[in-house]
Symmetry: C2
Subunit: 325 residues, 2 copies
DNA sequence: TCGATTTATTGAAACGTTTCAATACAATAG
DNA sequence: CTATTGTATTGAAACGTTTCAATAAATCGA
């Protein structure tokens, strides 16, 4: 930015009015006579005046942005959440700024600090780690925090019942007649993943001829799934902790060639992203209402008057070819 | 944010030092003696002080954020670009804030204004429309602008030769023996799409027994592709303007059932997103170096001293099953 | 015509930082 | 012991808005 951007003062001088009048044109146009308003507008145009938001915020105290911190922008689930949040925010004339942490706690904290320093209206965050202490600190300082895709009694939150989702998925595999099931995903320290696994264990526990094995991955990317390669051959059913991993596994099977889905292997994912339906073998998945999650989170943030509130959606099984018998 | 967040003044009082010293602890720690620094740090902790970025920026003039405006966050191509940009920015201790416009010019302008008012370090933008006038205005006002995935002599830019890409794709279809080719995508007012079409026309013009027909869509989403349904039956080759549309078309064919890819129809997409390789039929595509584009754009923005500079990458054909003969 | 009311405009004060010239103090050299 | 240099600390000024009490101008009623 050039060092001498025109200020409200400059506009006032050029329009031949007082500085307060320019401010009124900007913020309370109906307090200003039509004639004066026109003069000021003209001066604004001619000078190319752009309001300095830093000064505005400093004086007015509040910002019109909301921060959204996600662990992986490349996961369509999160961009779907973001779209839902955006739509809800735009209705209130607020903007959503998206920040990516790449699963790194350090970046998560840096982004939170950035948003706190910017005094955003609030922050929606899908925390990657298990320690929410620093989020509590932020909340204590007065920053509105809403947890997304994660539940905690200390914050408002919008989540999906991941235990139920894991149970649904695994029960479906069992109903397809599968006996040797693998749960693929990680790191297991991630809450959502641990919950999905818990649900899976619950379903398996109801049948004493079914086994469940955990194959932990570094993260939930297509690459992680693909890297497993033949590892899946010893199983007849795989529950992947999200669709990206499932798609990766599917790619590995196709390259390998001699594992056929769903004949040799039933595969189920999680999230039901748009691409699940378009996969090599259309992927059975557990649907989370992503856009609604984003929308609900914004509403919670805006209406939050002290009390924290937890919204939990129920997941839904979407059966496609990858688990047909 | 609670109305009375502690200020530097409060910290100074508590630590028993002057306000300027606190500022130095924050910005020039080596100017402050170890003893004093410790006292101040302690006070900061105890009060839960968070620097007010608005005030900081107002006085210091510069921000540490860069805006990135994309037409569609749900298109993996753009999130890949974002990741590249982020990585490059983080190296310089800068943050990238992502804004989505959903192909709406109005939102594009609103987001640009937001970033301008925030006096960001610069804005990377992949403009949706054809009229770049308002971007020129912003540039004239002093905001650093770098065009992404779009070329113009008025701005620095990082683009890919879309005419060459369109040519590559179409030539490949022709080499597969296809005679009745459809170009699917839209709106054609979008520059990239028009260029890809131009490339396609060029390739077709070299053969007098090949026809090219344009099927215009409202946008480049999976839904748009899927909505076409049987429309594609009259062609034996389809060049989709991006992978999302191609995947949608593929879904429609699979549901329909009696169009087989690649036997009846050769299908090629554009962007080579991760999911292309994982599609029902692995999708041939034209690869754009997305992360490199983001990285180059940041570097251009940072090093931009007056002169505008255009970087153009060359696209690359990635052949998969959807166009095997 | 005059006071009362409404409407439009004014400009000083405040927001919380960074900056920087001024000052205080400590260490060193002669 | 003084002069010089270097190191730490200080606090007023400035950044560009919004806010708001005060004033000016216009309108109205009788």
């Amino acid at each position: 930015m050039s060092n001498n951007a025109p200020s409200i003062q400059d506009v006032a001088a050029r329009a031949g009015v007082a500085l307060g009048t320019v401010s009124n044109v900007l913020n309370n146009p109906d307090l200003v006579s039509e004639k004066t308003r026109a003069k000021v507008q003209k001066a604004i145009m001619e000078l190319g005046f752009v309001r300095n938001d830093a000064a505005r915020q400093l004086r007015a105290g509040s910002s019109r942005s909301i921060g959204l911190i996600v662990p992986d922008v490349r996961n369509p689930f999160y961009t779907d959440v973001a779209r839902g949040a955006e739509d809800a925010a735009n209705e209130q004339n607020l903007s959503v700024l998206l920040a990516n942490t790449d699963d790194e706690l350090e970046r998560e904290q840096a982004m939170l600090s950035l948003f706190e320093e910017q005094r955003v209206r609030g922050v929606l965050v899908s925390p990657t780690g298990d320690n929410l202490e620093y989020l509590k600190q932020a909340q204590k300082r007065g920053t509105g925090i809403v947890l997304v895709d994660r539940k905690s009694s200390d914050f408002s939150s919008v989540s999906v019942d991941d235990v139920a989702g894991g149970y649904l998925a695994t029960k479906h595999l069992i109903e397809c007649g599968r006996k040797h099931i693998a749960f693929v995903g990680g790191p297991l320290t991630v809450h959502q993943i641990a919950d999905r696994l818990a649900g899976a264990k619950k379903a398996v526990a109801e049948h004493n001829d079914v086994t469940l094995e955990v194959v932990e991955t570094k993260n939930l990317s297509v690459q992680s799934g693909r890297a497993l390669g033949k590892l899946v051959e010893k199983f007849d059913g795989v529950f992947a902790a999200n669709d990206l991993v499932a798609i990766g596994i599917m790619q590995a099977c196709v390259v390998d060639g001699h594992v056929s889905i769903p004949r040799d292997l039933s595969l189920i994912g999680y999230d039901d992203i748009d691409f699940a339906a378009a996969a090599i073998v259309p992927l059975t998945s557990v649907r989370q209402p992503s856009a609604e999650i984003g929308k609900a989170a914004i509403e919670l943030l805006i209406s939050n008057h002290g009390k924290s509130k937890n919204i939990e959606f129920q997941p839904e099984l979407v059966v496609r070819s990858s688990t047909l018998r």
